[in-house]
């Protein structure tokens, strides 16, 4: 499903942007922190650099001023000056254990680090070497503060490579997690999609999504049960109507034909017979509609020479006797004669029946009905037209507007709605229009 992939991509993009922003924020905070520490250190009067400069300046001019001595004392600092042979020539406030003479090696070692664990800083001056000592553990000194030039030179490249590697790792993590999410959610999404189309689903999902899958299956079962109940109900009602309707139709027809009865009585019987026929049509439509709606699997699609079925249907219809107010003109093209459709012929017959009945229903004054069967662009066209009153503009507009449910419900009952449903099951198309001269025309196009 494309939507999910996009959704996940979007989600992960947001997530990655967030990580990047977080990283940036950390960097800024760290910079601010270091900046602040450095600033504080810089602002302090007793930094090694400042103290060394101050002391050396005063010692070169003679001796330490009172003020400097006070600074040293307050901060537990001490000072000594060694001459070029390593002998102490000046000292101030030396802690215990500090020797008074040093070899060249000793000077070399402590000048970079500690003297008896006291962090010391040195500066050269006219008299010799100024050594400034700080209290123990007040400074960390890096005793090996060097890097090969090659490392310094390749550092930007290294950083770039590191960045690329990070990107690669992130991308792999992203792809894998995306695939995983899609894989885990796909069955559920498929299930929801099927359910949306009213099809039963059995979704299997493991892990965290298991409860959702279960609920989906539950919903599906419910849907199936409801559909079955509805179909059974329709089936039951239509079943129970049929026997009484047989009697109403049978007796009404008998009365209609009795020669010993007065015409008004026979006319009324004719109305009863006609209306019973409408109820019969409705019951039949209802049953087929229910089957199409809730039982999509039960069709028996078969390759059929459709003209033969259509012709036989029309003949049976005419042989049972149609009202002389109506006449039928049939035109079947030579190509249509041989055309085969993958269809359930009973349904096509029903569609035809409903179109014929529709024409008669809307033209009570009588009309000629034209049935044309022909082929066009790999389609078999079944056209039923009449020279009656035709559709109103409002009806046609409603049909064009695919909120056609409205059209059927308000104007045409189940008949045309069922035709549309039947055409849809056969992946065909239904077109309603008015003939140029007069009357209605309904075109059913079925792909061959």
């Amino acid at each position: 499903m494309k939507g999910l992939g996009q959704y996940v991509s979007q989600y992960l993009k947001t997530f990655l942007s967030f990580i990047f922003l977080l990283f940036l924020l950390n960097l800024i905070l760290l910079g601010l922190f270091i900046g602040k520490v450095v600033q504080e250190e810089y602002d302090r009067a007793t930094t090694p650099t400042k103290m060394l400069a101050l002391s050396s300046q005063e010692l070169e001019q003679g001796t330490l001023s009172k003020k400097v001595k006070q600074m040293l004392k307050q901060n537990s600092l001490w000072i000594m000056v060694l001459d070029e042979n390593g002998h102490q020539i000046y000292a101030y406030d030396l802690p215990k254990g500090i020797a008074s003479s040093y070899t060249l090696q000793e000077v070399a070692v402590f000048s970079k680090g500690y003297l008896n664990d006291y962090p010391v800083f040195v500066q050269s001056m006219d008299q010799g070497l100024l050594v400034l000592g700080y209290p123990k553990e007040s400074f960390f000194k890096f005793t090996s503060n060097y890097l090969p030039a090659s490392i310094i030179r390749s550092f930007p490249l290294f950083l770039l490579a590191l960045f690329c590697l990070d990107l690669l790792i992130l991308f792999i993590v992203y792809s894998v997690s995306k695939q995983k999410i899609v894989k885990n959610t796909q069955p559920i999404l498929d299930g929801i999609e099927k359910l949306a189309h009213g099809k039963p689903v059995t979704t299997e999902a493991k892990g965290d999504l298991w409860p959702i899958a279960q609920q989906l299956n539950q919903a599906s079962k419910r849907l199936v049960a409801q559909n079955e109940a509805r179909a059974n109900w329709i089936h039951g009602v239509s079943h129970d109507i049929r026997t009484p309707l047989s009697m109403i139709m049978g007796y009404a027809k008998r009365i209609e034909k009795r020669e010993d009865l007065a015409d008004p009585i026979k006319d009324e019987a004719k109305i009863i017979a006609h209306q019973s026929q409408r109820i019969k049509d409705l019951v039949d439509d209802l049953n087929i509609a229910s089957r199409l709606e809730y039982d999509g699997q039960s069709f028996q699609m078969k390759k059929e020479r459709i003209v033969k079925r259509v012709r036989q249907y029309v003949i049976d219809w005419m042989n049972t006797g149609i009202d002389p107010l109506y006449s039928l003109e049939v035109n079947i093209s030579a190509e249509a004669e041989s055309a085969e459709l993958n269809c359930e012929a009973r349904l096509i017959e029903r569609a035809l029946h409903n179109l014929l009945v529709n024409s008669m229903l809307h033209n009570k004054q009588g009309c000629t009905i034209f049935l044309d069967v022909y082929t066009e662009n790999q389609m078999v066209i079944l056209k039923v037209a009449d020279d009656g009153i035709g559709f109103s503009k409002a009806q046609l507009d409603r049909f064009k507007d695919q909120a056609s449910v409205d059209f059927y419900q308000k104007q045409h009952g189940l008949g045309l709605a069922l035709v549309n449903q039947i055409v849809a099951v056969h992946h065909g198309k239904m077109i309603l229009k008015n003939r140029v001269s007069s009357g209605a025309e309904i075109l059913l196009a079925f792909p061959q």
Binding site: H235, T243, I248, M249, G250
Partner: protein, 235 residues
């Protein structure tokens, strides 16, 4: 219109709804079927079918003590009598069940009296061959037993194909027969494309049976559908 031969056939009606049974009887009686046997349950149906040996059974599917399908299967053990199911059940699966078991036709309620008679006649004609009576047309007389047409003083022989064609049409006299049915009657199960040959045969038949073959009154064309044989007016 139909021959008394078919109307003399014995029909067993099995229907638990008394009112409907009465109506079926009425419709058939009025049509001229006198030999009717009535049953209102499966048990009664089985007994009466065995005792009276009907020529046709009109059978309701849902009976209080069993299904019409079961009833038919019991009868099938000793007889191949044609059976028409009359039922309120209309799911396609039922139809297949019924026809697979050897039913000859299937009428879904509600039905019109005409429809019921049409189906009964169709089955009877198919199953019981009538000794062919000469058929009177407007301008001629068809003698199927001799495969001849008598027009005025002339006696014209019919070819085998013309005979078949007229026989099929006469079995449905007054009714439209589709070109497909006619072609199949002559050439057997053929795909299509025999309409032109059929036209040629129709033309020749008209020359033999019509007074004025270019203005036929007995063998009528229904464009796009088929043909109809019209019986002559009684004098």
């Amino acid at each position: 219109m139909e021959s008394s031969f078919l109307k003399s056939k014995r029909i067993l009606l099995v229907e638990d709804e008394m009112e409907l049974l009465k109506m079926e009887k009425l419709i058939l009686n009025e049509e001229g079927f006198e030999d009717l046997v009535l049953a209102t349950s499966k048990k009664e149906g089985v007994e009466l079918a065995y005792q009276t040996r009907p020529d046709l059974i009109l059978l309701d599917v849902m009976l209080p003590d069993g299904s019409g399908f079961d009833l038919m299967q019991e009868i099938r053990t000793y007889s191949s009598v044609p059976v028409i199911f009359l039922t309120a059940r209309d799911q396609p699966i039922d139809k297949i069940d019924g026809l697979r078991l050897g039913a000859d036709d299937y009428i879904v309620k509600p039905f019109l009296p005409e429809e019921l008679l049409l189906r009964i006649y169709a089955i009877l004609r198919r199953c019981y061959k009538e000794e062919e009576q000469p058929l009177k047309l407007e301008g001629s007389l068809l003698d199927f037993s001799r495969a001849e047409v008598k027009k005025g003083d002339q006696t014209i022989r019919l070819t085998a194909m013309e005979y078949n064609l007229l026989l099929t049409l006469s079995k449905n006299i007054g009714k439209i027969v589709s070109v497909d049915t006619l072609c199949e009657g002559i050439w057997g199960e053929v795909p299509f494309g025999y309409e032109n040959s059929l036209n040629a045969h129709i033309r020749r038949v008209r020359e033999k049976i019509e007074k004025d073959p270019s203005h036929p009154v007995s063998l009528i064309t229904l464009k796009g559908l088929g043909y109809k044989l019209v019986a002559g007016s009684k004098k």
